[in-house]
Symmetry: C2
Subunit: 505 residues, 2 copies
Amino acid sequence: MTPTEAYAALVRRSKEIGIIHSCAALLSWDQQTYMPPQGARWRGEQMAYLSALAHQKLADPQVGEWLAQVESSTLTADPQSDEAANIREWRRSYERAIRVPAALVEELARVTTAAQQVWQEAKAQNRYKAFQPHLERIVSLKREEAHALGYSGHPYDALLDEYEPGMTTEEVRSLFTHLTRELTPLIQRWSESARRPDTSILRRDYPVERQRIFAEAAAAALGFDFSQGRLDVTAHPFCTGIGPGDCRITTRYNPRYFSEAFFGVLHETGHALYEMHLPAEHAGTPLGTACSLGIHESQSRLWENQVGRGRPFWEHFFPRLQQTFPHALADISLETFYFAINEVRPSLIRVEADEVTYNLHIVLRFELETEMLTGNLQVADLPGAWSEKMQQYLGLTPPDDTQGCLQDIHWSFGGIGYFPTYTLGNLYAAQFMAAAKAQLGDAELMRDFRNGQFRRLREWLIDHIHRHGQRYRAQELCQRATGEPLRTEPLLTYLREKYEPLYGS
Amino acid sequence: MTPTEAYAALVRRSKEIGIIHSCAALLSWDQQTYMPPQGARWRGEQMAYLSALAHQKLADPQVGEWLAQVESSTLTADPQSDEAANIREWRRSYERAIRVPAALVEELARVTTAAQQVWQEAKAQNRYKAFQPHLERIVSLKREEAHALGYSGHPYDALLDEYEPGMTTEEVRSLFTHLTRELTPLIQRWSESARRPDTSILRRDYPVERQRIFAEAAAAALGFDFSQGRLDVTAHPFCTGIGPGDCRITTRYNPRYFSEAFFGVLHETGHALYEMHLPAEHAGTPLGTACSLGIHESQSRLWENQVGRGRPFWEHFFPRLQQTFPHALADISLETFYFAINEVRPSLIRVEADEVTYNLHIVLRFELETEMLTGNLQVADLPGAWSEKMQQYLGLTPPDDTQGCLQDIHWSFGGIGYFPTYTLGNLYAAQFMAAAKAQLGDAELMRDFRNGQFRRLREWLIDHIHRHGQRYRAQELCQRATGEPLRTEPLLTYLREKYEPLYGS
């Protein structure tokens, strides 16, 4: 077999694995949307089978042989080539697949399946003690997993790499430390300002069917193509790319709260635009796959916050919103509405936090999970450590663990290393937006938004982010798109420029 | 490996193939319900992959070795055992999978994919000539397939066996000849009777949302468990069993015609009750799989026609129907309605035919497809032969091929051998219903129906049909359930007893 043939075999295998994953993605979408309740058990069998099949196809020793053959050839000599990028990512996935012993994979699957069930009950009943032994086992298994995967710096590096390939714990810590130092006084100033928005206007009657029609129109205006996608209702909103030409988003409607569904739809639309503009000809290979969770999240945050909570956006949409919800908004001015959707207020629950305080929720989780992983923080001491940090960062103390360390599902499914990608997404989003403004013209872009036009921004994102798939690691993608490595300043500048006028300083 | 181990390996492989098929079933359901239009191409890749994977898992030489080892052991000595039934059906599937050369399988897939596209256009434009070369190729390939599969009597036996295992062409011909001879004068008498129902009452305004609610309530009354299933809307109604606890049906609503959706839902509910009561512990193996298409169709026809077009059923449901559609039905009597839904009238289109004339549409197709397969009828002469037989059986001549030999999709996907199962279903349904009445008491059963109670009939069907899966071939199942082999008399008796009072003789 020649190196070219080995490469072709890897492409075929990669597409095969991609198809298996895409079948699982559709099954998972169905499970959360339309599956009848009693279908859950069989669905579990289907999912377990597809997951094992994909793992077997990836961890196959033949894949290792094909990789070695291509790597020792001249096929990957040009680091900018398609071949080099695909081989780099296949090597990474292959190593992750073969280094973790099958017994550990199975034990993790078993333990986290049970833990999610226990977590749900523990959260409902505010009983951290019930969840604690499960979390202890998960942390211990993830520590084993990190050792099996290997790392040069911090054991957390090995876990972070699953979600943000190439990023290190030290880099995250450095970014987060700076961000925290700068954000803390801003949050204090804004949340203690005498100027307060009237957020009660968002909690009037917003009939669900009208919410749906308005949100679909906004998603379509941003570029969501409903001939290639759908919007459905689920308990927990998400976006899933099934394959080229098929990307689905979900939301949930609250008839007495406008923000929940609408900004959720903008968020998922941002994810979907990324999926919809990955190069279809590379579907199933790294070049046709999103770069990292942080970059994915940058797309959702950019459209939700940078665009969708901006004044120009609402200069276009607010009159239409008033026409759609005359009973709720006829007496409300654009300025009142704009301030209401941009309240800064420390709160206990991450998923309800505003775009400023949100980041400190992430910093807190990052610090706690790294400390648990190294053993510097005992799992038994998590609730106390959580309260202490909430007080330190946001000046609040959770009244119970349900509103504290039990609020998120992530640790129960073993997702240690996942949280940082949310704030990395915020940082990337601000830096991308600043670069797009610099390159396309700030005034021109804002005029676009005021006219309900988003084509130029979308095309900039397609050109600089979406179409590259995994050709570059996130850091290099950022450098190429913005001319700089990832920094905290663009986010801090964006926040200051937006909120200082609102809060008076 | 011991025979017991070989049998266990076969069970595992069979469940694996069952899971793959069930993933494909969900993907296919999604394609027809909610998939965005541009997802079709990728969906094709997913379906092709799963189909090839299932074939590879079945045609694996190891399967042949396991089969041989079990067959030469004492494990299958008792023909009534689980092992004997599973081995019998695995052997049949395995032989069908390995006997047809891969090149022929691929060529058939290629030709029928193109042919379905062409058929759709040819039907829309009434251009048989455009479809003819595709059908010629399909008939020729199906002839090759029949030879590859092997047969002892008629080449059509090999194709029929895919849908109705164990049934022969000669048996079908004998049943159909007798049925035609008896039905022809009945149809003539009833359709020429001076008594005519007023079917215009079915073509009043039936608001779609009310149709849906009424149909769901009726399906639930028959036993459709909505915690294990769904009802959705598709262009072509169907039922699909995804797996234990998950069976889905579809319909289409016509706001100006009551019968289309309602009787469609009863029909699909009959299929679904069968799927829902296959033994879950045998899921993925023959013992957990429906017996044959004819038996499957018997369940849909039984609930749609024997029950759902019967007077006792409507004694319960008609007052409720009037309450649901007061504008359409307030002035209508039960008798008028009952006669309207039971009109006997020769017509050109199979799927719109009444339960009496329907069977002659099937006899016609069976005769034409067997003759095409042997070459006694040239594909070029199909339109003429179709017209001749329509005149002979139903006294009508199609004005064009769209309403003639182009009306059905089956031949375009290579489904030669499929049509007979529809009328076999009618025959089985009548024989099962007669047996249920004899065993449970006709008067008692009809009193159940008049009270909207269907539990005893349902349980009889579960006990005599559903729970056996493929333990017995259809003929033996029929013998065990009814004490007799399949006969035409029960259907003919049922029709005479129902229609002679309506039409006066």
